[in-house]
Amino acid sequence: MTKIWRYGDDVNTDMLFPGKYTYSCSTAEQILPHLLEDLDPAFAAGVRPGDILLAGKNFGCGSSREQPALGLKAAGVEAVVAKSYSRIFYRAAINQGLLLVECPEAVEAYRDGDEVRLDAAAGTIAVGEREFSFPILPPEILAIRDAGGLLPYARAKLRSQS
C-alpha cells in the first residue's frame, strides 16, 4: 500500500539533502542513503516506489542544488503533495521528472491512516472519502515526467523529429 510521508511547512533543501554532501554525492546511488536524513531518519530505508510525500507550504526552499528532486525521483516517490513550493524546487522537480501537486485542501484534509489516490491526468486527488481537484498539469509537463525528466524528454523529442 502507498505509504504517506507527512511533513510540515518550510521543508528546506538542507532537510531534504544535507548541504555537506552537495559536492561529494551526485548520482542516485550516492544520494539515496542521505535523503531526508536530518528531517526523518526512517525515510531513506523505508521509502518504497509509489509512496507519496505530503507537506505544508514553501516546500523545497533554500539552495538550488538538484539532489533533493533527483533523489526523490530515484526513490520512486510518486508525487509530492504540498500547500506550495519554492520556485527553484518547483522547476528542478519538473526537470527531474518528479510530480508535484499543489493542493492545500488535500493537505489539510489528510488524517493519519487515510488512503491517498492520485490521478495526475484528471487533476484529482482522493484523501480518504473526500476528493479534491488541482490544476491539471499540461500534457507537456506530464510528458516530461513520463519520459523520466527533461533531458530524456528532449532526446525522445529529437528522435521523433529526425
Partner: protein
C-alpha cells in the same frame, strides 16, 4: 482582457492569444546565456552532440546565434583546472559554431548581453545564471534556469515556463532636490542616494522571498537612467522574482541607438494599464535614503546611520550590479583628491571592457587609482569568491555587488555588507561604514558624477 507584461510576452512567445498566471507554456527563447558553466552544461549532452561539428549539422534545436557564451567568472584562469575548463568551452564553441562567444576580458556576461545588443526589448532570454533578470531594464523577459534545463534547451531549442503573477511597483517622483548641476540634476534621487539604495530598500520591504516566482513591473521609472534601471533589475532575483522589468521609453531607445541597434530590430511589449496584479506598491523616491544590507541576507536592510562606524577591511566597487562607468564616476566624484584609509583595500571590478574604457576616458579610474584603489581585470572577480579579493576569517567587506550570503567571497567566517557606490566610496575614505552625505562631491567633480 487586460494583460501584464509577463502575460503578454509569454503569450506571444508561445503562440497564444492570451495566457493566465499558473499556466505552463512551451516557449522558444530568443537567447540562451551560459558562462564558465558551459562545459558542465554541455557535458550532460556530450553523447547527443557526438562528433557533429555544428548545431545545424546536428539538427540541434537551438540556433547557433541564439547561444551566447561569455567567459567571466574566473578570468583570467586562476588555476590549471579553470584553464582546462575554459579550454573545453572554447573547443565546444568552435565545434558547434557558437557565433556569440566572448572570451576572457570582454566583461561580465550580463553586461555583455546588454551592450552587445543581444538582449533587446520584447525578447525572451534565459540564462544559466540567476542574475539573468538584469535585462528587464530594457523591457526583456529574462530569467535564470538550471543546468539540466540549459542542456535540454540546446538540444531542442525550447523550454517550459510557468506564467508568473505580477507585482506592480509605481515609482513616484516629487519635487526632488538633487545634486544641483544641470546634468546631475536629472537624477530623481536625493543627494547621496542611488538606484542601489532604491532596490535594497524594496528588497528590505518585500523580503528575500517577497516576489517568489513573480514578475515585478516597475512603472513611472522615466526619471531613471538605463544604468540605474540595470542596477535595479539585476537584483530582482534577490527578492525571489522570476523577472524584473521596465517599460521601453525614449531613454531605452536612445541607449539602443547609441550601441548601434536599429529601431526596427525590436518590438517593445508593455503591460495594459488595467492589468491584474497580485500586489501593488508605491515608492516615493524622495523617501529613499542611503541604506546598507547587513550580513548574511540581502533583505537585512538598514539605514546607513544604523551601521555607521563599522570598520571595513575591503571595499569592492563593481560587479554586474554596479560596475559601470557611471558607478566609477560617482565614486570618483567622492574620492577625487582624497586617499582611502590605511588598513582598507579598495578593489575595482569593471563590468566590461567598454565600461572600463569609458571610465578611463572620463578620468574616473585615474582619480580612483590616485586615491589608492586596485584595478582588477573585467569580470566577476571577488563577487563570487573564487579568486581575487578573497576575504580572511574575521574580515569585513563593503561591496556594491548583489549578494552577501555567508561564504560568498570565499570565506564563511567573513562578513559582507552591500551598499551603493557612493556609500562604498565614502566608507573607503574613512575605513568604516560612512554616510555618503558626509562626503558630498566638490562642485567641480559634481559635474562628472551621476546619482
Amino acid at each position: 482582457m487586460a494583460q501584464t507584461f509577463a502575460e503578454k510576452i509569454l503569450a506571444r512567445k508561445s503562440g497564444r492569444d492570451e495566457v493566465r498566471p499558473g499556466e505552463i507554456v512551451i516557449v522558444r527563447p530568443d537567447r540562451l546565456l551560459s558562462h564558465d558553466n558551459t562545459a558542465a552544461i554541455v557535458g550532460k549532452i556530450d553523447a547527443d552532440l557526438g562528433d557533429r561539428t555544428d548545431f545545424r549539422a546536428a539538427k540541434m534545436g537551438l540556433s547557433p546565434s541564439a547561444h551566447v557564451v561569455v567567459l567571466d567568472h574566473v578570468v583570467p584562469a586562476a588555476s590549471q583546472k579553470d584553464a582546462e575548463n575554459h579550454k573545453a568551452i572554447r573547443a565546444y564553441v568552435g565545434r558547434c559554431g557558437v557565433e556569440n562567444f566572448f572570451d576572457v576580458g570582454v566583461g561580465v556576461c550580463h553586461q555583455v548581453m546588454v551592450e552587445k545588443g543581444l538582449a533587446l526589448p520584447g525578447m525572451l532570454v534565459v540564462g544559466s545564471d540567476s542574475h539573468t533578470c538584469m535585462y528587464g531594464a530594457l523591457g526583456v523577459f529574462s530569467t535564470g534556469v538550471d543546468r539540466t534545463e540549459a542542456a535540454a534547451l540546446i538540444l531542442t531549442g525550447e523550454t517550459w515556463l510557468k506564467v508568473p503573477e505580477s507585482i506592480r511597483i509605481d515609482l513616484r517622483t516629487g519635487a526632488v532636490p538633487t545634486f544641483g548641476s544641470p546634468k546631475v540634476g536629472l537624477s530623481p534621487f536625493l543627494t547621496g542616494v542611488t538606484a542601489k539604495d532604491l532596490i535594497l530598500s524594496i528588497i528590505g520591504l518585500l523580503g528575500a522571498d517577497g516576489a517568489n516566482y513573480q514578475c515585478v513591473e516597475f512603472h513611472g521609472a522615466g526619471g531613471l537612467s538605463i544604468d540605474q534601471r540595470l542596477t535595479v533589475a539585476n537584483m530582482g532575483v534577490e527578492m525571489g522574482a522570476k523577472a524584473a522589468v521596465f517599460a521601453v521609453d525614449r531613454r531605452t531607445q536612445e541607449y539602443l541607438d547609441s550601441i548601434g541597434v536599429a529601431r526596427d530590430r525590436y518590438e517593445p511589449v508593455w503591460a495594459d494599464e488595467d492589468a491584474e496584479y497580485s500586489r501593488r506598491l508605491e515608492i516615493d523616491l524622495a523617501a529613499i535614503g542611503p541604506v546598507v544590507a547587513k550580513p548574511h541576507t540581502v533583505d537585512n536592510v538598514v539605514p546607513v546611520e544604523e551601521v555607521e562606524g563599522v570598520t571595513i577591511n575591503q571595499c569592492l566597487l563593481g560587479a554586474c550590479t554596479n560596475g559601470r562607468a557611471s558607478d566609477f564616476e560617482l565614486a570618483a566624484s567622492i574620492l577625487r583628491g582624497k586617499r582611502i584609509a590605511r588598513g582598507t583595500r579598495l578593489l575595482l571590478a569593471p563590468a566590461s571592457r567598454e565600461e572600463l574604457r569609458k571610465s578611463i576616458a572620463s578620468g574616473a579610474i585615474d582619480a580612483l587609482l590616485a586615491a589608492g584603489a586596485t584595478l582588477l581585470p573585467t569580470g566577476c572577480g571577488p563577487c563570487l569568491g573564487a579568486h581575487q579579493g578573497v576575504l580572511a576569517p574575521g574580515e569585513r567587506c563593503l561591496s556594491t555587488s548583489n549578494r552577501n550570503f555567508k561564504g560568498r567571497m570565499g570565506c564563511a567566517e567573513a562578513e559582507i555588507y552591500l551598499a551603493s557606490p557612493a556609500t562604498v566610496a565614502a566608507s573607503a575614505i574613512e575605513g568604516k561604514i560612512t554616510d555618503p552625505r558626509k562626503h558630498l562631491p566638490s562642485p567641480a567633480s559634481r559635474e562628472r558624477g551621476r546619482g
